[in-house]
């Protein structure tokens, strides 16, 4: 037992004596969660909207007021003709423009169709989509009121009433935090474990350690434990940051969340061991982890692009990425507040992956050189 502790102590010394490693292990997760939470946000705030049309028209005035009072939108300039809009869009001064036809109010009152056009900057489709849907919402609510007023009753008009469950503000941190947690835990567990084992291979220290009476299983365990401990530290810090700084709720059971994370950490450690078994140099290990693990995790786990919109073969491929299952479960637990019964399938998949990966890589780890 003393041997194992000596190994683990030594491993911690390696981590904390190398400034780069310390930085990656302890600072990177915080930077990532803050970056994804704040900077890299798909939310739209204070989008400036120009108005083209007759500002004295009563219906136009009402809509302008509504746009201005919307917390995500802000009215910019009001023009009589659309000539200036193109330039304003091009220079990025505005996110969209709303153009009203002549005699908008009287057309509306006459019961015929009143035409309104929304122009948005398609170069940034995400923002354009969000802003136009905000504007559409504003116009729709105005239209609904007019219809109601005209028919005199309240039940005739029908308009979609969209209610977003769990994340009513469409806060992108809700989407990114589980993803970044997955990414950080995977990076630390698999890359750092793989590199630390391969470094010993490369420097020849593994040769000496293998000649010792300590069984290889314990050598592996002593390599795993420090990174497991650090992952738990990271899990706690990212969770605290997400909750208290980003305002991401933890609606479900914290114990369940921890259990799920532990299983994910286990599977990532298994991946790291596997990489260390197949690579001979630190560069190879880094490359495999970077290209083979981090990239697919970012792209295919649903962190950035939803899995549902991928082609079928990519969806199948994304199923073998442990992070995908972890992220699904974290979202369910943290944001929807789901219990164990609703994550049974994902949990079993991840648990199976963990057992298979650990078993395979421990078996593959050589007793000899």
């Amino acid at each position: 037992m003393k041997e194992i502790f000596a190994f683990i102590r030594k491993e911690f010394k390696h981590i904390f004596r190398d400034r780069r490693t310390t930085l990656i292990v302890l600072i990177m997760p915080i930077v990532q969660i803050v970056l994804f939470g704040f900077a890299i946000s798909t939310d739209v705030h204070n989008a400036v909207v120009d108005i083209v049309g007759d500002a004295s028209d009563p219906a136009v005035q009402r809509i302008i007021q509504r746009i201005d009072s919307n917390e995500y939108l802000e009215v910019g300039n009001i023009y009589a003709s659309p000539a200036a809009i193109d330039d304003r869009l091009r220079k990025g001064k505005i996110s969209a423009a709303v153009c009203f036809e002549q005699n908008f109010d009287s057309n509306l009152a006459a019961g015929s169709t009143a035409v309104v056009r929304i122009i948005a900057d398609g170069a940034d489709p995400n923002t354009a989509q969000t802003v136009t849907s905000y504007i559409k919402g504003v116009i729709q609510s105005e239209q609904a009121e007019i219809t109601t007023a005209m028919t005199g009753g309240g039940s005739v008009s029908m308009r979609p009433n969209v209610q977003l469950m769990y994340n009513p503000a469409m806060n992108s941190a809700y989407n990114f935090v589980p993803g970044v947690m997955g990414l950080v835990l995977m990076l630390i567990c698999s890359m750092m474990t793989a590199v630390s084992i391969v470094r010993e291979k490369e420097q020849g220290t593994l040769e000496l350690v293998l000649v010792s009476p300590v069984k290889p299983f314990w050598i592996i365990l002593s390599k795993i434990v420090p990174y497991m401990v650090l992952s738990i530290v990271n899990f706690v810090t990212t969770l605290l940051l997400a909750h208290f700084v980003m305002g991401v709720p933890v609606n479900g059971s914290l114990a369940l969340l921890s259990l799920v994370s532990l299983v994910f950490v286990g599977s990532s450690l298994g991946l790291g061991l596997l990489v260390s078994v197949i690579s001979a140099t630190q560069q190879t290990a880094m490359l495999i982890c970077g290209m083979g693990l981090t990239m697919p995790t970012m792209m295919l786990s649903g962190l950035i692009f939803p899995c549902e919109s991928m082609p079928m073969w990519l969806q199948v491929f994304s199923d073998i990425i442990p992070a995908k299952w972890f992220i699904i479960m974290v979202k369910k637990i943290m944001i929807q507040g789901a219990g164990f019964t609703s994550i049974v399938k994902e949990f079993c998949v991840l648990l199976g992956m963990m057992v298979a990966l650990l078993w395979f890589s421990i078996k593959k780890f050589k007793t000899r050189l």
Partner: protein
């Protein structure tokens, strides 16, 4: 030295792809002797060490260390041997003390319990015990590595090229240390590419291209040298070599430090023949002297 066998190697062969690293190696090393494995880089020394320290499996043949088979009883062997690989394989970011303590613990002992074993060597680097291993000089690294290999009182010590890349003074000191370790009853198998170190061993084996080409005590090997050997000194060594090599009666001619060694048959022409030939070819400033062969000469003859 006792009559009991410490290391027995029988018909060990090992290939890496098409390269035959070890080709039917047979060795018997007695308990308590310093046995030298002498050969150039790539001769198979490290491969043999790895087989004996249970780090690789041989393709064929058997080997045992203190009666334990390298395949079946590898766990027992790992408990009772000390191994110092050819490259510096300690943790660079740990201090001298931390490295030593780590290896002591890994082998289930403590530095204090076995302090006697390493005292001689460790006392020389103890003043640097808080220094990181990467900041040590070559000689100090080597002493630290030896301490780490000795800290658990091994029965057999495997030293793979311990003096490679170490300065001449440290090399001399190192062999003195080995003699002392040997006196405490430890069997030592040491490899070296330096032929001049052969005489420090009790017995040696010359290894080349995975084969043992000769073995015995250094004196035995030298006494088996059949030819007369002359040392030729002169100004332009390259020219001298060029003149002497094609001569009838010259068996071998190779540069040897600042001179060149010329081997001639016992019943062949003598030194005056060499001197005359050189003079005839216009080399005036040369001298020829009969010398005793060394291990290197034996190696060159056999290779």
């Amino acid at each position: 030295m006792s009559d009991r066998t410490a290391i027995k190697v029988e018909g060990i062969s090992k290939s890496y792809g098409a390269v035959k690293a070890l080709d039917d190696i047979n060795l018997e090393i007695s308990e308590g002797e310093i046995y030298g494995l002498i050969g150039p880089d790539g001769a198979g020394k490290t491969s043999l060490f790895r087989v004996l320290t249970t780090l690789t499996l041989a393709d064929s043949g058997t080997a045992s260390v203190n009666g334990r088979d390298v395949v079946a009883d590898y766990q027992d062997i790992r408990r009772t041997i000390g191994y110092m690989p050819g490259h510096f394989a300690l943790y660079q970011d740990l201090s001298v003390e931390e490295n030593l303590n780590f290896y002591a613990t890994v082998f289930g002992t403590t530095v204090e319990a076995n302090y006697d074993t390493i005292k001689d060597i460790y006392s020389q680097i103890e003043m640097f015990k808080t220094r990181k291993a990467r900041a040590l000089s070559g000689g100090m690294k080597q002493k630290l590595a030896l301490c780490c290999a000795l800290v658990h009182k091994p029965e057999v010590l495997f030293l793979d090229e311990p003096t490679t890349g170490v300065d001449a003074v440290s090399r001399k000191e190192f062999w003195v240390m080995l003699k002392r370790i040997k006196e405490s009853g430890v069997t030592i198998l040491v490899s070296t590419p330096y032929m001049d170190e052969a005489s420090m061993c009790d017995r040696i084996a010359l290894i080349l291209n995975g084969r043992i080409i000769d073995r015995g005590t250094p004196q035995e090997i030298i006494s088996r040298y059949p030819d007369r050997l002359y040392a030729v000194r002169g100004g332009n060594m390259f020219r001298i070599l060029k003149i002497l090599r094609p001569l009838d009666g010259v068996l071998r001619c190779s540069s040897f430090g600042s001179e060149c060694h010329v081997a001639m048959a016992q019943d062949g022409p003598d030194s005056s023949f060499l001197l005359d030939t050189l003079k005839d070819s216009g080399v005036e400033d040369s001298s020829v002297e009969l010398v005793n062969p060394g291990i290197e000469d034996c190696f060159i003859r056999l290779s």
